[in-house]
Every structure is written in C-alpha cells, then in structure tokens.
C-alpha cells in the first residue's frame, strides 16, 4: 500500500472533545474516526489490526471446539422477558427500537438469551452435549457516559463464546480449557507477559469469575499479582478469606494498575432454567444445561493495547497485529526507484508493506512512522542506497541496524 493513497491521514491533534488517550492516539495516527462518543469507524489501518486480532481469537476458539456462527443484533423481547432482562431497570444499557410493522426490538449487548433459546431446537439428548458456540461481531451498549475511547464503546466488536455442558464437572473441564485458550490468545497477540488470569467477583452464579487483566498505568482496575503463580486477584475480592482459599500469601503480592481484556463466567443454570434448555440424561430424565460465557472485546483490545504499549511518540504494535509488517520510508525523491524496487521485492516475499511515498520532509515521515507504530521500519535513504544498505528499526525495542537487501528480506 502506498501511503499517499491510504485513507486515514495522520493529524497533529485529536478532536477537542476526545478525552481518552487511546482514542487520541488512534485518531491522530489515522486508525479510527470518531462518529460520536463511544462509536468509532475503523479506517483501513485500524480495521487491519481488528481483523488480525479477531483471526487469532477465531483460531484459538476453533482449537477448543468452538463452532462459529452469527446471531442477529435485532432482538425480540420474548426470550429476554423469560430471563427477566428485557426491562431497562435490569439491563440498563439497552438500545430499544420499534418495527414499522409494530413491536419493540432491542439491540443485542450480549447473546445468552437468543442463543439459549435457539439451542432448545438443537439440544435434546445427553448425546448433544457438551457444545460450544461462538461469534465475533458488533454489540451495542447504551452507555450514559462514553469517555474512555475504545475501552467502553456504545458500539463495539466482541468475541463471545458460550459453553453448554451436562454437569458442573463437564463445565469445569471446559472452563479450564478456555483459560488456556485465552492465555494462548494473549500470548499470540504479544501481550501475554503483562496479562494475568485474575480472580474476580463471580456474581450470583459462581464464587469467582475470571478476568484477564493487562498491566498498564492507565488501567482502571487495581489487581494484586502473584508473579510466581502467574495469577492475580482483583481488588473487589482482595480479602484475607479469599487469599486463604486461593492459597496465596499476601506478602507475595504486588499491586498494579490494569485493564480488563477478557473475562470468563460460570453461568450455572441462570439462563437454561427460565428458557427451558434441558437435555434428557441416560436414564431419560430431563436435566438443565450448565452454561458458561467467555468474552473478549476485540475493539476494546485495540484501545487497551494503544494505551499500554504506546510511548510519547505514538503507538507500538506487537508484530502479530501490526497493521503492516513493514513501514518502508522513502526518504528523498531521488531514491523513489530504489524504494519502489525494495517495496516490490518485500511484497513478493509475502510481507505486507506500507510505503511512505508522500512528498514530506524526513522529519515528518519519521514522526508519522513513530505515531503509526508499525513494528518494523525500513528507511531507504540516499546515503544508504549508495552503500547498498537500509536502516531497519524495531519500533518495540528501538534497536536500529543497517542491513543489506538480503537481510531486510528476512526480518
């Protein structure tokens, strides 16, 4: 892609009403456009990151037996009335709308009810269980305030998986597998080292739920980390009683600010009871299905990573989700042909490359490159071309080296 043609120009300032650092950076770097508070259009650079994140999540959900599907955003009220969540007083983030043909609809903020209802058509016997359904799609939440950029959207992208099991034991076995799948996701995204499985409040369905918390100074949560065990405890359940139950010693814990990048919940029969999702066990007796839900906000992740991994110069993308593999900078007009030549070679090798072919000063190009944060930068400059070398810089480590063409083609 030639940067002169890229939709999404860098800009000096974010809109004045944008308070969140993640959105300020992403807007300035041309990744997103603010439609309204809490609703952002993904421009090509931003959408590329979202697609890469979602593909990693998809592969890990497939690997634990998840079946991908796609539920509707439009929600009939029937199944939500059965679960008691249609009322705005119970679920306070509904967007509601009306059919021209008559009747109230809601926009889905989550999908326990329609999926549980749908599966009453497909689950009858113990032979139909366990089963795991997931989707990656847009959700809507009518937040009263939405000042956190992509961290709390009125419209956002999310992967939500739901597990359906015969018994608590079968549920627990999958719940453990899901924990590992989530670890794999965050490792592959490049944030594994700073992301902790964190014990949090279980709500009314279970003693604990589990969050995946990424350590960042900008985090809105406080967690207590046991580095040795590789787990953490959220402030909300940080009591002596809980620590004892978990076999964690207070003196081993380190306090840190963190932001949630995923969560998993045991739901018990909270939804299968009211929506009558039952299976016949081996003796023919009807039994309620035991459920769990497993969420990762893919657009929230873009915002969280923008906050956590940026520096004062701009964004820093881990290699696996960098919008392009290489940012190729054509430094002067005179090296246009050399830059085009290297561009074609790198694309031919299978790299995705953003070629900065704009008529801008070297200073502006370097500043934009640091703002955009592609993981590798390769500079084609007059002096280098004379020597047959290119300056290669790693955006994450900041390390720079002059490399010959054959080495650039293997970074």
């Amino acid at each position: 892609m030639r940067q002169s043609e890229l939709i999404g120009k860098t800009r000096k300032d974010a809109p004045k009403d944008e308070e969140a650092k993640n959105a300020q950076l992403l807007i300035r770097a041309g990744f997103v456009h603010k439609e309204m508070a809490g609703a952002y259009t993904f421009l090509p650079l931003g959408w590329s990151v979202v697609k890469k994140i979602e593909q990693i999540i998809r592969e890990e959900m497939d690997a634990v037996g998840g079946q991908e599907m796609h539920l509707t955003a439009l929600q009939n009220k029937a199944s939500w009335e059965e679960s008691g969540r249609w009322s705005d007083e119970v679920l306070d983030v509904w967007f509601k709308t009306q059919l021209k043909a008559g009747g109230d609809l809601g926009l889905a903020t989550t999908h326990e009810e329609p999926l549980t209802n749908l599966l009453t058509d497909h689950i009858a016997s113990h032979r139909d269980l366990p089963t795991y359904a997931y989707q990656i799609q847009t959700k809507f939440r009518n937040e009263l305030r939405a000042k956190s950029g992509l961290l709390r959207g009125r419209e956002f992208r999310m992967k939500d998986l739901y597990s359906f099991s015969k018994t608590e034991e079968e549920h627990e076995a999958f719940y453990e597998k899901a924990k590992q799948a989530y670890k794999n996701v965050f490792d592959r995204l490049g944030i594994g080292e700073r992301t902790y499985l964190t014990f949090a409040s279980g709500g009314s369905f279970a003693e604990f739920s589990h969050e995946f918390q990424m350590v960042t100074e900008a985090g809105e949560d406080t967690i207590y980390i046991d580095e040795e065990k590789g787990i953490a405890v959220n402030e909300e359940v940080y009591t002596d009683e809980v620590l004892e139950k978990l076999g964690i010693k207070k003196e081993n814990l380190k306090e840190a600010k963190a932001t949630e990048v995923g969560n998993i919940f045991s739901l018990g029969t909270r939804f299968s009871d009211p929506l009558k999702l039952v299976y016949k066990d081996e003796t023919g007796e009807p039994q309620p299905v035991v459920m769990g839900s497993y969420g990762i906000g893919s657009s929230r992740l873009v915002g969280a990573i923008a906050e956590a991994l940026s520096d004062d110069k701009g964004l820093i993308w881990p290699k696996a989700i960098s919008p392009y593999d290489i940012h190729l900078i054509q430094l002067q007009d005179e090296v246009k042909d050399a830059a085009e030549d290297l561009y074609k070679k790198l694309v031919g090798k299978g790299y995705s490359v953003l070629l900065d072919d704009r008529e801008k000063s070297a200073g502006e190009k370097f500043a934009d490159s640091e703002l955009i944060g592609i993981s590798k930068r390769v500079v084609v400059g007059k002096r280098g071309v004379e020597n047959g070398t290119y300056e290669v810089t790693d955006r994450i480590t900041g390390e720079t080296a002059d490399m010959k063409e054959e080495d650039v083609c293997q970074i």
Copy 2:
C-alpha cells in the same frame, strides 16, 4: 467436523410462518435460524457459506484498489439532515433509537452520508483522488413486510464500496473496472453463467444504473437477455428508445425471471454537494468529488443461490462456497473405523470435511446429505470397504463413481 456434534440439525419442516422457499430450505438444512421475519441467525453451516462469499468479494474489491474499513451502524443525524435523508418520509426503512444521554440515532441502512462526511477530513487535494473505500458488514432496514426470507432482510450482510473521483471520466473508468470485478465475483461464486449485467433505471443521478441479475424461476424481476452480448435490460427500462440507445435488437432478446445479486450506481455529486466534499484541482479551484456506490448483499446471495440452485431434494452449493468440501457418509456402524480413517486422511490433505457419524439409517443420511447440498459426497459403506472403494457423488451434476482412496484424495 463430526455431524453428531454440529450445531444446526436438519428438520422435516420449516416454521409455519416461513413463506420463502430459500428460508424454508436453509432452515430445514440447519443453515439459519429464524429470529423474526427478516432477521436470521447464521448457524455454523450458513456462516461458513457467508464467510466464503465475503472472502471472494473482499479479494476482488482489494484487486481494484478498494480499501477495507468498518463504519459504525449507529448514525448521528447531522450528516443525514444535510443530505435530506434523515426523515422517515424520505428514507422509509430507518430504525431509529435514542441515546440514554439524550439524542436521536439511526441504524445504518447504507453509508453514503457518514463516509462522505468522514472523507472531508482526508480529501483535500486532487492528489488524494481517486480513492475507493469498502466494508463488509451488517445493515438494517425497517421493512414493513419481510416475507422473502434472506432476499429482503431487516438485518442483513452487505459489501458496499464507494468510489470518489475527480471527474466524470475518471469515475466512468472505475465504473467499468467495477463491472469487471463484479463479473469476477459471480464467476468465482459459481453463478457467472446465469448472472447478467443488466441495465436498470439510474434514478436522479445517472441515465442508467447496473444490476447483476441471476436467472432463476423464483426471481422477482423480469429481464430481457441478449445472450450474444452477455447483457440484459430490466423491464423498468425496456423501451424501444433504450434498446436503440444500447444498440440492442428486440428480436435477439429472451425474457427471463431473475433476482438481483448486486448493483452499481453513479451518484454524481448527490452527496458531495450537500456534505461539502470538495478537492482543490491543479489550479487551486475547489471542485466537488464525483461518487459511485457498488453493493453486493452477501446474505441475500445465500438466499438467492439457495432458491436458484436447489432441486426438490434440497440445496446445491457451488464448489467455491460449499460449507464443506466433502460430505463423508459413514453408512453403517461396522465401517466407523474406515470412515474415521478416511476422514483423517482427507483433513490431512487440506479438505474441509463434514463426517456424518450419526446413528441414523442410510436413507436418512442420504436425504440429509442432499438437503444440505455439500458439493461432493463420499460414501463409506460395507461393500465398498471390502472392495477398497468409495462411492463419490457430485451434488451439482448428480454423477456417481466408485473410487479408490488415492482418487478420493484428489477430488
């Protein structure tokens, strides 16, 4: 995938309130679930077809320089008021909703306004043009009636590309490229031979628009086909004057029923004028941007193909969008190991395989296989296993042959 575990069981009857053949078939075969009239959840088989269709479209849009992005569904009224399309009397398929924080929102049925508005940030000079943006996502239309299954959804999937050009000539050049890209899409989907570039009413922006009409008896449109030229004329512009203008002779035309699977429009400055999307030409003078829009409904395509390519036994998927490459039928319990063995070999060769390992009669398995319509069926039966052969049937041609394992692995 083992069919015993697949979410989405076949069923004898569609819901009683489902009138459309496409939805009846897709529901019976376990591809979709009806949430409400005009809104269908895609189950794993259906979602697999949608993803394949959308990937083909994506590749062809990328090939003509389209840049993929993702606009919001939630719409602020400001830019729609500027274009005059906020009112329900002008655009009669709006779903409207309200922010809890105050203010009216709409759900996007199309995206000319927000994209034109967004690009005022990114288009300033003639150097920024032409440019092409597209997205593949969910759209909403508050249809008064929605009885056509996936052909007319209240919530549906769509690819919409928008072109932005300096002049009419530049616009026309891309418009021709888009026609070819659309032909490529329909060829690759496997419906190229029955899909015609069709002249239709241009509305207020241009003399003609162009539809891509797929011939099918169930079609809601009537078109007149010139086989030799490979084009057609929609009934709405089928006049002597138009035929003369197009250089088409009435006696060469064949009347046919057809269903629209794509359309492309010249928009002129209909949106760039009110939304003030201008560029400075080489002399520094401001000029309005010339626009076009290019749509393909990916979920509508699933419905249209289900109507057009099915027979009285069920669905028939073209190879490129078949939910699985192979439907592998384990005919009796005794051949379970042989079926598993072949399943693993085929998956190892890179085929996607649905293995019917259910405890059902041969008759039920064959009937379900024909209903689901995967393009190739491979039967593992007792007699065949003794002879070292498998029965391979092409769902499209109906041809059947007994093949040895090495040949099955190359179908």
